[in-house]
């Protein structure tokens, strides 16, 4: 599976490589003048050379195997003269953070100028003082961040972080393997599908699904409701509903057709569909979970090169083709206008404005610990 996925990424990369110039030439109408000016400023300010070291998740650039050949990175190097050291250093939030915790606490650099933990983890980094504040004047494109993500409680003026990507958690399924369609979380948890489905080991996704099924929005959930959701998950698990409870590992089984239906991340599904067109994606009627990975500058990182990279990503003509290639949502205003008509119309990349997607509220440390513990007890032990 991973091979064909890789082929897909390469193909997508080629597309993106031709994309930007073409689209920039014919589709500038929708980008606001301030944004266009900002691009010019940004590239002028950062023609100083140097290197930006990026800690990234897999499948977040057009070409993971050879990042220098990814259009987004190659163009950045051309434009700014800043070299890019792109490393797939993040496999999951917890282990990535644990690996550098000691250095961060000691105030030492971690060897990266940019990292992309998920927003809830980024908020922890910020609260702990493990990040460098953004040199805001060097990131003029910051104004392009979409309104819904412009001022989270943990970084209200976005002076230390900006979203990298928007992720939807929904359901992927094979109609013929489960003899029918799935339209809701209730369908997914129907005993009829016992042993055929997988759910994610990310607490916010799985507990979030259960909360939505209980009719509670994760943004309003109280602690006892979250704990109740964990308990409900445990009951389902004890009844044998889940084939597996995994992180990224669900991709292989789903791609191979071993899993009938899966709680899934939007970008992954688009990747798998290239080889298995009968795989369907649905945002459940109760709603899906919305999350975002977040750009930060880890303590000790090179603020200048990092700012140049972040500013570059916030150019809609850069963001559009990149996110069309990787099949995640772009947090940059106007990015959709730099996509092909197909990309623009793809609900995996650009969900409808009124799509039922719900983010989590910020949890207190105590809530986080309690729910985490209940979730692990319910799903792992």
């Amino acid at each position: 599976m991973s091979l064909s996925r890789r082929q897909f990424i390469v193909r997508a990369g080629l597309l993106a490589g031709f994309g930007p110039g073409l689209l920039a030439a014919c589709g500038g109408d929708d980008t606001s003048p301030s944004a266009t000016d900002a691009v010019a400023d940004g590239s002028a300010a950062s023609s100083t050379g140097g290197v930006v070291r990026i800690a990234a998740w897999p499948f977040y650039i057009e070409n993971d195997q050879n990042p220098k050949k990814a259009a987004t990175i190659a163009n950045f190097i051309n434009k700014t003269g800043i070299d890019v050291d792109y490393q797939l250093a993040i496999d999951d939030n917890v282990s990535f953070t644990a690996k550098f915790e000691g250095d961060l606490k000691a105030g030492k650099g971690i060897g990266f100028d940019v990292a992309q933990p998920t927003s809830w983890m980024a908020s922890k980094w910020i609260a702990n003082g493990w990040v460098e504040p953004f040199p805001v004047d060097k990131i003029p494109n910051k104004v392009n961040v979409i309104d819904s993500l412009a001022s989270p409680a943990w970084d209200p003026d976005r002076s230390k972080s900006l979203p990298y990507s928007i992720i939807q958690t929904g359901i992927a399924y094979y109609p013929d393997k489960i003899d029918g369609e799935i339209t809701s979380i209730k369908d997914l948890f129907n005993p009829k599908l016992k042993g055929k489905i997988t759910i994610l080991s990310e607490m916010r996704d799985s507990v979030g699904f259960m909360l939505l099924m209980m009719g509670v929005k994760p943004a309003d959930a109280k602690l006892d409701e979250m704990l109740k959701a964990c308990e409900e998950l445990r009951k389902l698990r004890d009844a044998g509903q889940f084939r597996k409870i995994t992180g990224n590992g669900y991709i292989e089984d789903l791609g191979a057709g071993e899993t009938g239906a899966a709680m899934a991340w939007s970008g992954d599904v688009a990747g798998i569909q290239v080889d298995t067109p009968d795989l369907k994606w649905v945002l459940p009627s109760e709603g899906g979970i919305l999350s975002s990975d977040t750009l930060i500058i880890p303590k000790g990182g090179n603020v200048d090169t990092a700012a140049a990279w972040i500013n570059y990503l916030y150019d809609p003509t850069v963001s559009g083709p990149l996110f069309e290639a990787i099949n995640y949502g772009s947090p940059v205003k106007g990015a959709a206008d730099s996509m092909t008509p197909e990309g623009k119309a793809n609900p995996v990349i650009n969900p409808a404005a009124d799509a039922a997607l719900y983010g989590w509220r910020d949890l207190t440390d105590d809530e986080q610990n309690q729910v985490d513990e209940a979730f692990v007890a319910a799903t792992q032990q």
């Binding site: 917890v94 282990s95 644990a98 042993g195 080991s201 698990r237 044998g240 889940f242 084939r243 597996k244 409870i245 590992g249 292989e252 191979a256 057709g257 071993e258 610990n369 985490d372 513990e373 692990v376 007890a377 792992q380 032990q381």
Partner: protein, 286 residues
């Protein structure tokens, strides 16, 4: 038992002059230092970590939280080890006693899978065992598996994979102990009117037991701690202790419990091994 025969080391201490008494310590030094830094200190840290937040209750919770997984882990490892003896012994016997000039070739064949990484070997099994793959197709066709039955995500898949991955660790020690048996003993047995079966059970088998013992440890202990096979070939119902630790050790909140679980795993293995050594009576090895 016949194991005393191989040992019988003569006391050599008398030969060392008092001024040279530090020589053995110097020879041991690098090894001891290595063990201290990379074994004793981490173990101490792990022990200390298992007692923060909750103290000894972390240990009592280990069984109530993970009882099923602990039991499953040891059953898997035990079954895999027993099967490895049953499969590995005849193979080692054949190579050592009957293979003649093909001995080297066969030994190479046993070791050959190691030239492919552990992960790829296990993933290859996964591909073979997929629901629309050849193995499941054949099993369904013969009726050994129901029409919707599957092999992946079953106990058999995980045990089979453990067996496959650790079998060479069983074969090689048994081979070595069989190979070094003095052939004159085997010739003497028929001279003393023992038939083939009797020769095997009274001479060959007892002399090869140290190999079986070593092979069992090399199979059982890593099997207990393994998580790759259960992760790739098993499902939610096939999790082993290794999977639980792997998933949660890095979560700060769970580190004390996971440290306690690691210690419990270690103690249970140690207990099992001591019991086994006692039953088999191998002073030489235990």
């Amino acid at each position: 038992m016949a194991f005393g025969g191989g040992g019988g080391a003569k006391p050599v201490g008398d030969g060392i002059r008092p001024s040279n008494r530090w020589v053995p310590w110097m020879l041991l030094g690098p090894g001891l230092a290595w063990l201290f830094v990379f074994f004793v200190i981490p173990l101490f840290e792990l022990g200390r970590g298992s007692l923060v937040r909750g103290g000894l209750s972390n240990y009592s919770n280990v069984f109530s939280d993970n009882g099923e997984v602990i039991l499953r882990t040891f059953v898997y490892a035990f079954v895999a080890t027993v099967l490895a003896v049953i499969l590995g012994y005849p193979l080692a016997y054949f190579i050592a006693m009957k293979a003649g000039r093909f001995k080297t070739l066969l030994l190479a064949a046993v070791v050959l899978p190691f030239f492919v990484t552990y992960l790829i070997r296990t993933l290859a099994w996964k591909i073979l065992l997929f629901g629309d793959g050849p193995v499941v197709g054949l099993l369904r066709w013969t009726g050994l598996l129901s029409r919707n039955g599957e092999v992946l995500n079953t106990h058999a898949a995980v045990i089979g994979a453990l067996l496959y991955n650790f079998l060479p660790f069983m074969v090689l020690p048994i081979y070595v102990s069989l190979d070094k048996i003095d052939r004159r003993l085997l010739e003497a047995a028929p001279d003393l009117y023992a038939d083939g079966r009797r020769t095997f059970f009274r001479v060959t088998l007892p002399l090869s037991l140290p190999g079986v013992f070593a092979g069992s440890l090399l199979t059982f202990i890593p099997s207990c701690g393994d998580f790759v096979n259960a992760e790739l070939l098993g499902g939610d119902r096939q999790r082993m202790i290794g999977n639980i630790i792997e998933k949660n050790f890095l979560r700060e909140n769970f580190r004390p419990q996971m440290s306690a679980l690691s210690f419990v795993l270690m103690l249970l293995i140690l207990g099992g091994v001591l019991l086994y050594a006692r039953i088999l009576g191998t002073e030489e090895l235990a």
